[in-house]
């Protein structure tokens, strides 16, 4: 610790005896080196204008030296290792100034420093030329070396503190401002200049546009001049550009409307009703349409007209209860006045047992409920508890509290099984952050998250908290919990993600989880409510406002940020009532649009100008087919008649569900709604396998019974349409089937009817929610 300042003093005083070769232990414990470097800089160079963090790190990042594919790789490259995007300047400083006997910087002749020779490709460099000789980047580095390659920290008091944080993420950068954050453009090829201003804690503001790294999420849509920050938009739609400077990233939104003003006026688009005066504090019912329509207007996207009543019936039943409407449901619905039909349906679905059962499975999948070895009783208890929560209209916050704070015998206390799905503390940290915060902390296991706020301290700190929940038949809170922080090699300190360090007093330990959960479900935590509201949105609308739904990131902004904010507020106000938010969604114009795109909105997949058609989830499709056939399918050893959406164990053996594409129990099912429409195997299975045929070709189904009872052709066609598609056959369809049935040989009639029903069960209108 003391040797370090001495060495560098020698350098500064121009000691020409070449004592740069002083041996330095290869790995200096980083805490001490931080203190030492700080001390040295304070002692000698506090007056210098140059600083490694502010001056040099941006150059390295801008030139791409520290990206993952180059020296920023975990193992470095060519024996030179930098932290990813300069996230750990102390280590980088050490690597550049100290390692390799200090050969990377040449104090006597800065221009011939290895760092510069390589970067300017004056000598052979695997990464090619990264800096132009005598360009501004090279000059900065040269001047910095000329001044003695100092560290020169910006804030001494921060540096001297001891703790796991070790001030690694303290770049002294108070605010990074990018202007403009949102641009609405008028034509392709239009250029927008961006200006980036960094404000530091010492009050200094600097235009850092030239040192900011810009990256378009879709490089084919947006081109960027790296030096001037000028952005050109080449494709229509909404595009995101990420600006990175030091440790901060800022997303910039660019919108080029789908139709130009001229095109929009030429086309006679069905116009939307004028936006109502909006004040959701009194009445949240127009909240969704307010923001969705505003975005559509911004993008010049026409919206498809409302869907018809029959389509809405089928759609809402499938989305909210995972099953087709029953004939009596259909009758009740159609009997009502058309003004109140839809809201009545939504209310009745939300208060139904079918809703409870379907959403029990949805929550179970989200929480990754599954059967662990020898844990049938535990799984049943867990599933039963979830079901109870839904029946009792428990708030989502209380469900989550129940899961995370449960104690006791897992065969009796259902929620105590939650932690069992991830055995080790790190997996738990990943699970908890993904499920409840929709954030991928996973990246922060090995390095600070390059695109988000999460640090390694957050990751291992959360793991340390969750490690206190011990399981051996009973779930108990345990005092000693050790999660090793890979950087320090010592026990990680418990820490709230992006929040405070938690005390680890002996008596306090069991309360770590409580402290975390209080923080997690607090109204002030923006992620908790948004994560679930966004998932509900995807269930109803087919795509997350933030998509993928488990990837909330500073750099992955919502398509409709205000809408997500206000819906989440509404969710909190409702007492975290899942049904309240689903009701708002189901009653919105946005949800009730036709699935048929218009010419002007056919390219839209993210702004809800029309309903997003989607394949039925494997379990829902299997149940729907059983319902139409009136002949249940057996699942594993479950009692006959058990519905696929009611299966407790997501691994219940079932070739049907596997082939139709149920999601794997290890994942949250966030990614794959269903893969049904895909796959030769699934089609062979439908066409030729025993799944439909075994029941359809036997006497054991509704059609055979109708045939036996002597129903007429037209009755059968009509009733099958109503059961499967909730509509009557149109005239061309009636004519088609009359023709088929009119010309059939008498002994082939039954088979033809079976083939008719088969085509109804396998056609796109049936297998998709429209």
């Amino acid at each position: 610790m003391l040797r370090l300042p001495k060495l560098t003093r020698n350098q500064k005083t121009g000691n020409e005896t070449g004592c740069f070769v002083l041996s330095i232990p290869p790995v200096i414990p980083r805490l001490f080196s931080g203190v030492a470097l700080g001390f040295w800089a304070f002692a000698d160079y506090s007056v210098s204008g140059q600083s490694f963090v502010r001056e040099i790190t941006p150059v390295l990042t801008k030139a791409g030296c520290n990206q993952g594919a180059c020296h920023g790789a975990a193992a470095g490259r060519g024996g030179f290792r930098l932290s990813l995007y300069g996230s750990d300047p102390e280590a980088d400083f050490h690597e550049i100034v100290m390692r390799l006997g200090g050969r990377r910087v040449n104090h006597l002749d800065p221009q011939s420093s290895l760092l510069l020779l390589k970067a300017t490709e004056t000598i052979e460099h695997g990464g090619g030329q990264r800096l132009v000789s005598s360009g501004s980047g090279a000059v900065r580095i040269e001047q910095w070396i000329d001044q003695g390659a100092p560290w020169n920290v910006t804030d001494e008091s921060n540096r001297s503190g001891i703790g796991d944080a070790a001030a690694t993420d303290d770049f002294g950068l108070q605010q990074l401002q990018v202007e403009p954050r949102l641009s609405i453009l008028s034509h392709q090829g239009q250029t927008i200049p961006l200006k980036v201003t960094a404000t530091f804690e010492d009050g200094i503001s600097e235009n850092v546009t030239g040192w900011t790294v810009f990256k378009a999420e879709d490089e084919s849509a947006v081109s960027i001049d790296p030096d001037s920050g000028e952005i050109t938009v080449n494709r229509r739609g909404r595009h995101i550009v990420i600006a990175r400077y030091l440790n901060q990233v800022v997303p910039v939104e660019l919108v080029l409307p789908f139709l130009s003003e001229d095109e929009a006026s030429l086309r006679q688009n069905p116009s939307r009703p004028a936006l109502p005066e909006f004040s959701h504090s009194e009445d949240p019912s127009s909240l969704i349409d307010h923001w969705v329509n505003q975005k559509l207007d911004l993008l010049n996207l026409p919206s498809s007209p409302p869907c018809d009543d029959a389509t809405f019936l089928r759609r809402a039943c499938l989305d909210l209860t995972g099953r087709l409407p029953t004939p009596s449901q259909t009758d009740d619905y159609l009997k009502l006045d058309s003004e109140v039909r839809r809201t009545w349906l939504v209310d009745s679905l939300l208060s139904s047992d079918e809703f409870n059962r379907y959403w029990t499975q949805k929550l179970a999948k989200l929480f990754r409920l599954r059967k662990l070895p020898n844990s049938q009783a535990a799984m049943e208890a867990y599933h039963r508890w979830l079901g109870q929560q839904l029946e009792e209209h428990a708030g989502y916050d209380s469900i989550v509290k129940g899961l995370l704070l449960a104690r006791g015998d897992t065969t009796e206390v259902g929620p105590a099984n939650f932690y069992r799905t991830a055995d080790n503390p790190r997996e738990r940290a990943e699970l908890v952050s993904e499920v409840f915060m929709a954030s991928r902390l996973r990246c922060a296991n090995c390095h600070n998250h390059p695109l988000d706020q999460w640090t390694q301290d957050d990751y291992h700190g959360l793991a340390a908290i969750l490690a206190t929940q011990r399981f051996s038949e009973r779930l108990v809170a345990h005092r000693s919990a050790n999660v090793t922080h890979p950087k320090t090699g010592r026990d990680a300190l418990p820490k709230l993600p992006a929040g405070a360090w938690l005390s680890r007093e002996v008596d306090a330990d069991p309360n770590l989880a409580t402290e975390f959960v209080d923080w997690l479900v607090a109204k002030e935590n923006p992620l908790f409510a948004k994560a679930i509201v966004n998932r509900l949105w995807k269930v109803m609308m087919g795509r997350g406002l933030v998509d993928p739904v488990d990837d909330f990131r500073q750099t992955n902004p919502a398509t409709h940020p205000e809408l997500l904010d206000e819906l989440s507020l509404e969710f909190v106000k409702s007492g975290y009532d899942l049904r309240a938010i689903l009701r708002l969604m189901a009653n919105s114009d946005c949800y009730q649009r036709s699935a048929v795109p218009l010419l002007g909105n056919v390219a839209d997949v993210a702004f809800y100008s029309h309903y997003n058609v989607r394949p039925l989830q494997a379990e829902v499709l299997a149940d729907a087919i059983s319902d139409v056939l009136d002949s249940p399918l057996a699942y594993g050893g479950q009692p006959i008649g058990t519905r696929a959406v009611e299966l407790m164990d997501p691994q219940t053996p079932s070739r049907a569900l596997d082939t139709l594409g149920r999601c794997s129990p290890e994942s949250s099912c966030d990614q794959s709604l269903s893969t049904f429409s895909a796959g030769l195997g699934a089609k062979l299975f439908l066409l030729n396998g025993d799944f439909i045929n075994q029941r359809l070709e036997s006497e054991n189904n509704r059609l055979s019974r109708w045939i036996t009872r002597g129903y007429s052709d037209s009755e059968i066609v009509r009733d099958c349409y109503q059961l499967a598609l909730q509509r009557l056959p149109r005239s061309d369809e009636r004519a088609y089937w009359e023709r088929q049935l009119g010309t059939v040989q008498a002994d082939d009639r039954d088979n033809l009817l079976r083939d008719f029903l088969w085509s109804l069960l396998a056609c796109r209108e049936f297998t998709h929610n429209q």
């Binding site: 789908f258 007209p305 794997s664 030769l680 088609y736 085509s759 209108e765």
Partner: protein, 484 residues
């Protein structure tokens, strides 16, 4: 019934403008089908947003020029995927000089090429060393099964923004030959890397690998649902196909009824009534010739024996049968290589209770040598690229359970046939198999090499459903020139 037999995805003829020259660059392969809820869409131009859609149709025309542009050596690829991450130290990169905790419990043997040694369980492969090339310096930062698998199978590190297609899906997508057999087949199942991946990426779903399903080593092996359900006849299957096409067309009519007069003509082009996967299922099950490709029991006993009777061996034999009949890409999924413990048992001896106690490496040795020999004897080796790899290697030092854990920093890949020059090692690992010693090769480099050998330009671009052009390999990917 004839009209059922057309392929809806592909060049659409007869309407629309000439390709805009902006998009006609020969080195670009732009193709794609915009899918919205399963509807294949092609659009006539004439309004703003059609720009993006038009490119896709043009792209479909240009595909023909993009494939096989630079005189390919290989017409097919068999990928033997060692799922779980095989130990490089016990297979293709033994370290006989290293200390015992690195060297491990198994020894090494000489091969037909002086100076190249292999693990002791690979004697038959060793005898064919002059036919195979090894890359011992493959390196990746991803030591988790799903991530590593995605990187190795696509050439791209996984990102949340885009799901990349595997080699087989790309090949299937670009291959314009019509064929009743699926173009991208997995034996027995494509459940690789913990099953997190469907292999199709952003390409239309019917290019995903078709999993055969059954185990070709079992006496009663057959592809599921390929034979008619007992009460069904060809007439009834035909009738069902006609009915379902009518049903899907009725759906389309309802679309038109809801739209205004002016829109009908264009919308008529947007929605097609075909279901590519169903068409393919129909063709496959009604073609006895295609079905015979899966009849592995038609092979001579001695030949079946030469591949070894384990699943991987018979899967390789089935792969050869499929390739012989024109299937361009077959993945043989060999599972069980995640050897965190009991290394010698898992890799060499097999578990004592098993019916035929034999470890993973001897099973692979039989299968691989059987395949190479068989392909060679049939004159197919030069046009069939054989690749053997897993998602990463294993830790240089044995762990306390006598196993090795995940190690992506350096591992080995084997290639043979398809224009690969055998008898050589490209790239070395260091003395303990910990890091590349020279010539580091990334999975992206590997992707560029595989595509090139298959006659596909690795810098070509494909189009995602939302119109984003994506290169087949990342810009930094370099072809491993030494291999050919």
């Amino acid at each position: 019934m004839k009209r059922l037999h057309r392929y809806p995805i592909g060049p659409s003829e007869g309407h629309g403008n000439r390709p805009d020259s902006r998009w006609s660059r020969r080195d670009f392969v732009r193709a794609g089908a915009l899918a919205t809820g399963g509807f294949a869409i092609t659009l006539r131009d004439g309004f703003g947003i059609a720009d993006l859609l038009r490119m896709q149709r043009i792209g479909a025309r240009e595909v023909k020029q993009g494939v096989h542009a630079n005189s390919p050596a290989a017409k097919a690829c068999i990928l033997i995927w060692l799922d779980g991450g095989p130990s490089h130290l016990e297979t293709f990169d033994p370290k006989p000089e290293a200390p015992v905790e690195v060297r491990g419990p198994l020894s090494s043997i000489a091969t037909s090429v002086p100076g190249i040694r292999l693990g002791e369980c690979l004697p038959q492969t060793a005898a064919l060393m002059d036919r195979v090339a090894l890359i011992r310096s493959v390196t990746s930062p991803l030591g988790e099964h799903q991530f590593g698998t995605h990187y190795m199978m696509t050439g791209y590190q996984p990102t949340p923004v885009l799901d990349y297609p595997s080699y087989g899906a790309v090949y299937s997508f670009l291959d314009q030959k019509t064929s009743v057999l699926p173009k991208n087949v997995a034996v027995p199942q494509f459940n690789v890397g913990g099953a997190g991946m469907d292999g199709g990426g952003y390409l239309p779903p019917h290019h995903r690998p078709f999993s055969v399903g059954g185990d070709p080593a079992k006496p009663d092996f057959q592809v599921r649902d390929l034979n008619y359900f007992p009460s069904l006849t060809t007439d009834r299957i035909d009738r069902r196909m006609e009915f379902i096409e009518s049903m899907n067309r009725f759906g389309q009519n309802s679309v038109e009824q809801e739209s205004s007069q002016a829109q009908q003509e264009t919308l008529g082009e947007i929605f097609t009534d075909s279901d590519p996967d169903l068409q393919r299922a129909y063709q496959l099950m009604t073609s006895s010739e295609a079905k015979s490709a899966f009849k592995i029991d038609e092979e001579r006993d001695a030949l079946r024996e030469s591949y070894g009777r384990k699943t991987v061996g018979q899967s390789c034999l089935l792969a050869r049968r499929l390739v012989e009949r024109g299937v361009p890409f077959v993945t043989v999924n060999h599972k069980g290589w995640d050897t965190h413990n009991q290394l010698a048992t898992r890799l060499k001896d097999g578990f004592a209770g098993a019916k035929t106690p034999i470890g993973l490496i001897p099973s692979l040795d039989r299968a691989l040598s059987g395949l190479i020999t068989d392909l060679e004897q049939r004159g197919m080796l030069d046009e069939t690229l054989v690749v053997v790899m897993g998602e990463f290697g294993r830790t240089p030092k044995l762990n306390t359970s006598g196993g090795r854990d995940h190690w992506p920093r350096v591992f080995s890949v084997l290639m043979a046939g398809g224009g690969i020059r055998g008898g050589q090692v490209v790239g070395q690992s260091d003395s303990v198999g910990e890091s590349p010693f020279d010539h580091p090769v990334t999975p992206s480099d590997l992707a560029a090499t595989i595509y090139t050998q298959l006659g596909i330009d690795p810098t070509a671009e494909l189009q995602t459903p939302d119109g984003r052009p994506v290169r087949l390999t990342p810009p930094e990917a370099e072809i491993i020139a030494e291999l050919t």
